[in-house]
């Protein structure tokens, strides 16, 4: 599900400098709470400063990823639109930055 060093191509001007480590979680088609579960899994053990982006089609993820960041002491960087998914409609790229080990 998660791949490394793979900045979402459609998210132009994606947050985070290019030299920062990046994690991408493709949670498109998954319903809540799966997107944040996948996110938590993907960033487990990663160093502070890691930038992680969740791709999601579940509208609740747009609220849950910022709330996850608040609850786990990390930083929510922002949200960008992704091209619509044929099967799941609107898609979003939600980016967080780790403040400390999760």
């Amino acid at each position: 599900m998660a791949s490394e060093g793979d900045v979402p191509e459609p998210a132009e001007g994606a947050p985070g400098a290019p030299d920062e480590p990046a994690v991408v979680v493709d949670a498109r088609g998954l319903a809540c709470p799966q997107p944040v579960i996948e996110l938590a899994r993907a960033v487990e053990g990663r160093p502070a400063g890691t930038v992680a982006t969740v791709w999601a089609t579940d509208a609740a993820a747009r609220l849950d990823v910022p709330a996850w960041a608040r609850l786990t002491g990390n930083e929510f960087v922002g949200e960008q639109d992704l091209p619509e998914s044929e099967t799941d409609g609107r898609a979003f790229a939600l980016t967080v930055r780790l403040r400390e080990r999760v």
Binding site: A31, C32, P33, Q34, V36, I37, A40, R41, E44, D58, A59, A60, L63, D64, P66, A67, W68, R70, L71, T72
Partner: protein, 381 residues
Amino acid sequence: MAGRAYLDAGGAAPLTPRVQEALKKGFEQGWADPWRLASESRTARLLLQGATEAVADVLGARPEWLHWTPSPHLGFERLLTGIVAARRGRERVLVSAIERDALVAAAEHASPHGLDTIGVSREGHVDLDALRSALSVPDVSLVAIQHANQELGTVQRLDAVAQATADAGVPLVVDATASIGHIDPPEHWDALVAHPADWGGPAGVGVVALRPQTRWLARWPELPGPGGDGWAPGGVSIPLVLAAAVALQEREESRQHESARLSSLIDRIRGTVALIDGIDVQGDPVERLPHVLTFSCLYADGEALVSRLDREGFAVGSGSACATGTLEPSRVLAAVGALTHGNVRLALHPGVPDDEVERFLAVLPRVIDDVRHQVGARGQS
């Protein structure tokens, strides 16, 4: 096997023996058409009038301001539609971002293109600057703000809200469907809606209080005669109204003592769940209803939490997006930036003993842990 604990008493609560007795009395003595002339009808009419006076008294209203409706939903619709009709030319309706769905639907119906939403803080308080700014344009028909939120528990600072609406000369509709019978009624309103089932009365009845200076026009067929009340076409059920009034009296008699007890139980739950990893407790911890609490569990599915707790003997509510099967998450939770999944809403009623809450707190961590494992989350304990 321990008994059942009903911890979801928002908008519905078990009927106490006294309320059941009132219902029975209503059917025995209040079955006649209250608007005919014979003694049977007079008896029914007296029951209706007595119940109306009793409820008006608690609300701080006059009996003639009160209208019974078959539900608070219909009350919202008739109230908002009627005020918008009376204030034609001012099409904007301001509501907070955490109003009930039924109120928002009524507002959209009353003014299809005029709905304007006022944001709230993380704890659920209306943004007063945004409200004042929205009121600065003189095209506002009405403002509808709740007294307290049924999920967050947060009680609005209605004095300040009412000051803003009064300064702008705009009527304030207060949704008190979650607060009457639990805390002191609000002091400042032009119209108010209450829900008897929320204070322990039977389902199937609503209350609207409308101050005489609040302009309002009926927008539906009005039948002639004293019984032709457009708020409850065909008349209201006297047994339900009587039981609603008795339920409110019963709540009011024990309110000081019970609200202190329930409030300390909610404090205890707040403190205990806050110790569990990944729990987001919602609402204002101080300016709140005594009996309501919502918390959200990271990495857990709300529907699964509700069914697991149900099997353990606890009825709780959930406002989760995942549970409803709709694509849009709960407006209330979205508006305060809460987690939208893994929600548990508790609403205690006076019949809940302290030890049931203790029993709930004893099983909760295990239930959350199990549900988290079930959806594939890593162990969070």
